[in-house]
């Protein structure tokens, strides 16, 4: 079974972001970048499938500028066998990414595609669902457990009220939730080995994909700051303030 894993280069989740003074975007100059946390979980799950003998090959793919190859190398260090870089300097959002991934799916014909449920920069939570729709595959989003058996995949999904399990025909699309697994750290020898693993580049044209325009970003603002309030000295004072000052009890 071949598994394709989509990874996105995003701002490191620990970084506190700043909006540019001209309100055009968030300032990403000299900011620490990393693999989107949900994509790390996706890579980990694919590698575990290979370690269990369920998957035979793990291919990592990213769409983005040259610098995004860094995240592909990380995926290779974590255990992916090879990587595909769909190179574009344009800002691409979910629909464009889904179409480009569809192009890669048509070439690679994976049995399973694993994506993160959400990129922590745009917080879109769309790409996996869009890819599933475009390719006609079934989708198991927000996965906290997957089991491959008898040509199907069973996906336990985290939903608002609890859990739901669906069975999907293969090939299928899965998006990861936080509790699917705990990603490993890459070890130094693996990072060295990753440098020798194959990494190919593709252009949107070579994939035969016309990249659709995204939404127009008119303005980016910092939300109204919440001011810190007061410290109270006791439970009595707290209850008194909630009743008489805030009037919420």
């Amino acid at each position: 079974m071949k598994v394709l894993v989509a990874v996105k280069r995003v701002i490191d989740y620990n970084v506190k972001i700043r909006v540019k003074p001209d309100h055009s975007d968030v300032d990403l100059t000299n900011v620490k970048m990393a693999m989107n946390p949900f994509c790390e979980i996706a890579v980990e799950e694919a590698v575990r499938l290979k370690e269990k003998g369920v998957a035979t090959e793990v291919v990592a793919v990213t769409v983005g500028p040259k610098a995004a190859q860094e995240q592909l190398r990380t995926a290779l260090a974590l255990g992916a066998d090879r990587a595909i870089h769909v190179e574009t300097e344009e800002v691409v959002e979910s629909l464009a990414v889904a179409k480009l991934l569809e192009g890669v799916v048509n070439e690679e014909k994976p049995d399973l595609v694993i994506l993160g449920k959400q990129a922590i920069d745009t917080d879109n939570n769309q790409t996996g669902q869009m890819l599933a729709a475009l390719t006609g595959m079934g989708q198991g989003t927000f996965a906290s457990e997957i089991v491959v058996e008898d040509g199907e995949i069973r996906v336990t999904r985290e939903i608002d009220g609890g859990h739901q399990t669906v069975a999907l025909k293969l090939p299928a699309v899965v998006t990861t939730d936080l509790r699917l697994n705990e990603p490993r750290y890459a070890k130094l020898p693996d990072i060295m080995k990753a440098k020798k693993k194959p990494l190919e580049s593709r252009t949107p044209e070579a994939l035969g994909v016309a990249v659709p325009a995204g939404l127009k970003r008119l303005k980016v603002e910092t939300p109204a700051e919440r001011k810190g309030g007061v410290k109270v000295g006791s439970v009595d004072e707290l209850v008194d303030k909630l009743k008489n000052e805030a009037k919420v009890l």
Partner: protein
């Protein structure tokens, strides 16, 4: 403008979120229809017909829509979308699952989790865990939108829309429902609760959440949790508040033994009044709390329960 709102429902009940989505649709302006898709959902449709501002409820009642799997719901929406300029639903796990399929199949972008309607084609939405707000404009002929329900006040239930059946014939050969485990609770849902009491890693274990439940019972509150508390197995995942959990905005949010990571704040910082109880007086949660109480939660919680 002609708007379709995909209703959300569980166990034959219309979810509260739908009344908030109708409010967002009303803010865009124009004719508003509601789509109820499911199996044996006549009751849901009748409730939806009472939402103010709705002119027509369209009902797709068939076995293929049972459990509202994304694939058939997406295909149904594609069939209906040509009649509309906008399709909206709640940014719940159900809405997030189905709606991007419609956008992809129509070749348009989806605008996720809007907070505000600026105009019929321009919306505000949070990015970077709500640490920035983007104003985005869509040139697409169809606007496909999920709505952060806490950002819009629910419409009243005093309308009387017509209810019409849709003859639908979509099929689903790729996915199959297996089972579902839904949490049972007598407490209010996190999304709609007026008061929420949340516990973090500081609670120590699941048993200690009883300390929060006692307070929640007295206040008629819902109980939430941080990711650390969920990951540690103290409580189930559907209680997680935050960037990747539930987004809440109650009148009162009491955070107990929660440090205040940005991913947690993303889910609760629009609460009207925030109380933090933490033994570390430098915990970041105090920077956004209206009332902070420094101390050991195991002493504070029993005293608080007694005072209420």
């Amino acid at each position: 403008m002609s708007i379709l709102v995909l209703a959300e429902h569980h166990n034959g009940q219309l979810s509260d979120g739908t009344a908030h989505v109708v409010a967002a649709a009303t803010a865009i302006g124009g004719n508003v229809d509601v789509l109820v898709a499911g199996e044996s959902v006549q009751g849901v449709a009748e409730t939806a017909a009472t939402l103010e501002g709705v002119s027509r409820v369209r009902v797709a009642d068939a076995a293929v829509y049972a459990h509202q799997l994304a694939e058939p719901i997406g295909d149904l929406l594609v069939r209906l979308a040509d009649d509309y300029t906008h399709v909206l639903t709640a940014a719940s796990t159900g809405g997030k699952n189905a709606l991007p399929r419609l956008a992809a199949l129509k070749g348009v972008n989806q605008i996720s989790e809007i907070l505000e309607v600026v105009s019929a084609d321009t919306f505000k939405r949070p990015i970077y865990a709500g640490n920035a707000i983007a104003t985005v404009q869509s040139d697409d002929p169809l606007k496909v939108i999920t709505v952060r329900t806490t950002a819009f006040d629910a419409v009243a239930r005093q309308g009387s829309a017509s209810v019409e059946a849709i003859e639908s014939e979509v099929t689903n050969a790729v996915s199959r429902f297996v089972d579902e485990a839904l949490a049972q609770s007598d407490r209010p849902e996190l999304g709609g609760a007026r008061i929420i009491v949340s516990g973090g890693r500081g609670m120590g274990n699941g048993e200690n959440f009883k300390l929060l439940e006692g307070i929640a019972d007295k206040l008629g509150a819902a109980v939430g949790a941080s990711r650390a508390a969920v990951d540690a197995g103290f409580v189930p995942n559907d209680m997680q508040v935050g960037q990747t959990g539930k987004i809440v905005a109650p009148d009162l949010y009491i955070a107990v033994g929660i440090s205040g990571a940005i991913q947690h704040l993303a889910g609760m910082k629009d609460s009207k009044v925030i109380v933090a109880i933490n033994k570390d007086d430098e915990a970041p949660i105090f920077q956004i709390a209206d009332y902070g109480l420094v101390g050991d939660l195991f002493e504070i919680l029993p005293a608080l329960e007694q005072k209420l």
